[in-house]
Amino acid sequence: VTSVESHRTSREVTSDVFAALSDPTRRVLVETLARDGDATATQLSAAFPISRQAIVKHLTALAGAGIITGQRVGREQRYRLEPAAMDAAVVWMREVGAEWDRRLAALRRHLDRT
């Protein structure tokens, strides 16, 4: 959990993360960083059929949601994954799972009564 998340609800953070990942190119960028490690926009654009400028735009969106961070190395930003952002997904699954556990227990009680 980052300091950015500390004054926001997990639901808000989750929304940002999922909204940023709603684009298929961004999901592939995240997969690529996960598989191959840190990379610059130039390195990433070599593997994608879109311009470096477009890659930078997607990387900026991912950074805005806290999914990746950039660190200046020479003349370029080098991007890395911030797996903590994915904790939002884990929180969603835990909260929704707990809700269903509660509902299924209530369903059992309902069926016992009928």
Partner: protein
């Protein structure tokens, strides 16, 4: 600690074997009065395919759209909180479960999947309110996609 990120769908699933005949379980899934006994604190819902309504959950109301109904087998819904941008696709599937005794049992499989709604679909939803046309416009524009989850 090594962390690895993989691509996966974000969903929750539960499988439950219930000590009740399939007809009783189907009734519990499709009668709004019964739904308010277990699924929600209150349910005001048209459970026909394309039906809409609202349910009250502990953390607030959800708008609901029934997307599919396969009689006696499966009920599928989309539900979302107004103004929140998050939307879930919920599938409830039932089937007879092998029973060792004389009493019939039913297996219920629940899948709630997070659906990503692009900003424009969300904006349309907010501006148009929940009407039939909007509900189906929403269905055609949301993208139910696998997203990135994390494993440690």
């Amino acid at each position: 600690m090594t962390r690895r990120t993989i691509v996966t769908g974000i969903f929750v699933t539960r499988s439950e074997v219930l000590d009740a005949p399939i007809e009783d379980v189907w009734a519990a899934l499709t009668d709004p009065a019964a739904l308010s006994q277990w699924l929600a604190d209150a349910a005001d819902l048209d459970l026909r395919p394309g039906g809409v309504g609202r349910i009250r959950l502990p953390d607030g109301d959800r708008s609901v759209l029934v997307t599919a109904r396969d009689e006696g087998r499966r009920l599928s819904m989309l539900w979302w909180r107004e103004g929140d941008g998050q939307l879930s696709a919920v599938d409830l599937t039932i089937s007879p479960s092998p029973s060792t005794g004389a009493d019939p049992r039913t297996e219920l499989v629940v899948v709630e999947r997070l659906v990503i709604a692009p900003a424009e679909a969300h904006a349309a939803r907010v501006s148009m309110g929940m009407r039939w046309g909007c509900a189906f416009a929403l269905l055609s524009t949301v993208c139910a996609v696998g997203v990135v989850g994390a494993v440690r």
